[in-house]
Every structure is written in structure tokens, then in C-alpha cells.
Amino acid sequence: MATMVEAPPPTTRVGRGQRSLTWRNTLHGWSFIAPNFIGFALITMVPIGYLFYVAFTKWSFGRARWVGFDNFERLFNDQRFYTALRNTVYYVVGHVPLTFVVALGLAILLNRRLRGVAFFRTAAFFPYITSIVALAYVWNALFSPDFGPINAFLRFIGIDNPPGWTTDPNWSMPAVILVGTWRDMGYYMLLFLAGLQTIPSQLYEAATVDGASAWQRFWHVTLPGLRHTTFFVLVIMTINSFKVFDLILVLTDGGPGISTLVLSHYIYMKGFEENDPGYAGAVSIALFFIVLSVTLIQYYVNKRGSQ
């Protein structure tokens, strides 16, 4: 290390001027970024580009043949694709608002000086960092229609015909949404907590002096103060919900029937189980553009709202 200190490049700094400084900085900058960037480009950017070739091909015995828009024509007439799309939207529409409200509520409840508050935060966050494989098995046991504690509780409070949860096509998606919210809310709660810290307390004091009720303070101080956090959380939450996969794979495996088949799962089935990467690529492109346009719409709405 000592050698580095003793070897200053005195000439570059004083004499050669702006151009050589820029050149030197560029070289340094790239040398720092390169190790990560090369890996990142090869493993992320190249595959994203390659996707737009794969989706226009048909594969047999490891060889690709260009087939133009065939895969997309097939896509538009594929009822299963529409089912998967509908189910994905079902998940997003159920999971995003529910998680949003629960996470924000928790954050507000836990953003105060209270004995034991750290414990409650940990309890809420813990599901997020535990593996879904183990917990999906546990949840299936909890949801078990005849033996599970959830239905035992429902019967106890007087519901004679509790739902079949993951064994019933009508209730499987609500069950998945519930588990998804259970897992994710602690994460978003942390983001909201960080946002709440940035709202100056004087605003609340001023509002109280003016006689604002708790509800009014929430509506006119907390929510506007959380604008940026809210936007960020909504974007991340929506992207994550559209790509939901591992949760469903281990909880219901798309079933019963295809009642919880989602787009990511369909891509996986086509690509890896039926060995049809070309068609899986077409479904991937659909997912890609859906997520992209939803993000752009959110961005646009947010921009208009802040003007």
C-alpha cells in the first residue's frame, strides 16, 4: 500500500491540461466499472437483446430457425395465454392495493416511540427474508380445508362452510394473494417508514394547532409528504406483482387446474418443460412490454401529478 502513496503522478495534474485529465478520468472510471459491468452486460443486457431474436425462431435439436411472426400469431390465438394474463392481472389488482394499505398502515402504526416497537417491526419484516419453499409448505398446511387451523378458526367464529383455499379454483388466487401480502408487506413497510422520517414534525404541530383531526392530518400532511415514496413503492410493487412466480410455483403450482397459472409460470412451462424457447420468448416479450408500459404510465401520471 505504501508504494501507492509514494508514487504521485505530478505531471498530469499541472501540465497537460483538460484533455489529458478527461482521458485519464475516463480510463480510471471504466477500470472501476468494468469488472461489474462486463458480468452484468453478459448476463443481463445481452440476454435481453437476444430475447428479441429468440422470440422469432423455432427450435429443434438445439438449432434455431427464423419463423418471423409465427410465434406471435400463435400467441394471439392461445387461450391459455389469455388465462395466464387474466390470472396475472387478478394477482396484481388484488395484491398491490392490499399490500399497499397494509404496509402503509403498519408503517404509520409503528412510526412512534413505543416500548417494543422494534420487535413489532421485526415480526412484520421477518416473512420477507425467509425462504418461500419452506413457508409455502407451511401455508398449505395452514390452509388445509379439513385439518388446517385457518378453517378451524373460521368454523369457530360460526362460518359453517369455510373456503377450500388452495384446493378450490375459486379460492386459490385469493389464498396466493394473502400469502404474497404476508410475505411482502414488511419490505414495503420499511420503505414507508423511511419516507415518514422525512416529513418534518413541525407540519404536524402546525396542523394540530389549526385544529386538524387525525384523519385530516393523515390526508393533508402524511400523504402529500409521502408522494415520492408512494410513487416508488407503487412502481416496485407493480413490477414485482407482474413477475410473481416462485410463490405460486411452490404454493399451488398453477393449480388447481390452471386457476393460478401466471405469465412467468407459463413462460417457464413453455421454455423448460415443453422445450419451446421460441414460443416462450414470445410470451416473454408480452410480459416485457406489459411491465414496461405499466411503469411508463405510472411515471407519466406521477409527473403530471407533481406539476
Binding site: 472510471g29 471504466w30 414534525s201 417457464y268
Partner: protein
Amino acid sequence: MATNTLTRTPGRRLAAPDPAARPQRPGRVKHIVGRVALYTALIVASAALLLPFYWMLMSSLKTNNEVFTVPIRWWPETEVWSNYLNIWRQSDMTTWLRNTLFLSVVITFLQVLTGSFAAYGFSKVRFPGRNALFLGYIATIAVPWQSYMIPQFVLMSKVHLHNTLWAMVVLQAFGAFGVFLMKQYYESIPEELSEAARIDGLSEYGIWWRIMVPLSIPAVASLALLTFVNTWNDFLGPLIYLRDPEIRTIQLGLRTFISQYNAEYALIFTGSVISVLPIAIIFMLGQRFFIEGIATTGLKG
């Protein structure tokens, strides 16, 4: 850093539905009632949240027959500790844990190293094209991995990396997330510090190693813990890339165990506990870093 205050919240300023929280004389009784109601709500909520973990732990100490009984038994009749011995004999738990530990350590090391290195380039060195390049990084975070896992797999199998543990390493070691997290932290370190070091003749690499790295230990801890836990818990990557039994990770192994021995309820719960336990311990020890790491990347995203 705003995030540092997370653990010591300034209390009273919050608008939350708790108007009695203000010290007004007539509100004294109301205040106590409010507190009791709040605590009751919080305790019930966290009991519900933690129920799955309790259920898992308790079932891992039962016999197979006892796992699903009506009415529900909330504690086993006699604790079957032998489950925790049998699981090692009946499954390849040792192999799974070894593979997972290997991946978690190697990936965490590479991610922290390349991430903080690149973050220095993005936050402390000025050069043309830097911001455009960073935008490229950020943009790809928004692209779901599920939409390019197919072409990625095709490319990986072309270079014969699939079905090896190295596939997982290259897949996860160069994430943009680490760059992003470290960059956020480096930007909170005053520019004067690196300027002074430059004038003193320290090279850029020297500044990174002798000034930035020591100053960013909290961020390094956050990134290391988050990466470790993510790798440990990853299921989809191993599911796609790791086919041979001897390179299975704990999540993949547990999953195959569940489908092979689907009547061994108690053992499955035992395996589940073992798969979650290391993460629980790490989380308890480094909780602060998890929370700060997430808050940092979330805040300015």
C-alpha cells in the same frame, strides 16, 4: 442519512389515528385506553404474522400422525427430537447445505467487491458517458428477470455453464443492485475527502481501498447480508440451472424432498426449520443493516 433515524423514531409528531397521544389533561384516560388498544392490536397482528413460523417449529417436533389432527394440538404430546437426526440420514441435507454455503459466500464476496468498485467509478470519478451508463443499469432493474430467463438459459447452455454451480455464480454475482446500494452510500461521503487524498498523491484505487471501503463498512454489511440471504433463499435460479442431485441447493433440495417423501410431514417441517434457521440467526444479528440497506436503496430510487 435519514435512514439512521429509523431505529430512534421521534415519537409524538405522527398524525396516526391516535389523537390522545398528546399530553392534554382531560385526555389522560383516553390516552391509556388508546395505548392498550394499540398494544392489543399489535400483539394480535404479530401473533398472526408469526403463526406460520410457530406452526413449522412445533410440527417439526411431532410424529407424522400428530401433525394433522383435529382438534389442533398446539404443542406435541412428546417432543420428537429424533426428527432432527433422521433428516440428515434420509436426505442429502449435508450436500445441499454445503452447496448453498459455497454459493452464498462466493456470490456475496464477488457482489460486494465488484459492486463497491463500480460504485466508486460511478460516484467519485467524472468522465463523459458516466450518467448514460448508470441509466442503463437502472433501466434493467425494472426489467423482470422472468422475461429474459429463457434467452439467458439458451446462452448459458451454449457456453456449457448450465448444470454447474458456476452458472449460479455468474448469474448473481454481478447484479446492478449492489452498484446501486454502494453508490447511494458513497455519495453521502463528502467529496473533499477524496480530493484531499488525491492532492496527497493517493491513486484512485488507493482512495477506494484506503478511504472509501473503510468508511462504507455499514453499507458493505448491508449489501453482504442482503446478498447472502437472497442467494440462500433463491429457488428459481437453482430450479432452472441445477439439474444434478449433487449440486442441489437447500431450497431445491427441500423442494425435491417434499415431492419425494410427501407423507413424511414431520420430517418436511424439520427440513424447513433447518433451511430457515441460518437466515433467522443472521437476521437477528444484523437486523440494523438489513433495515438500513433497504431504506437506502428505497429512498431515492
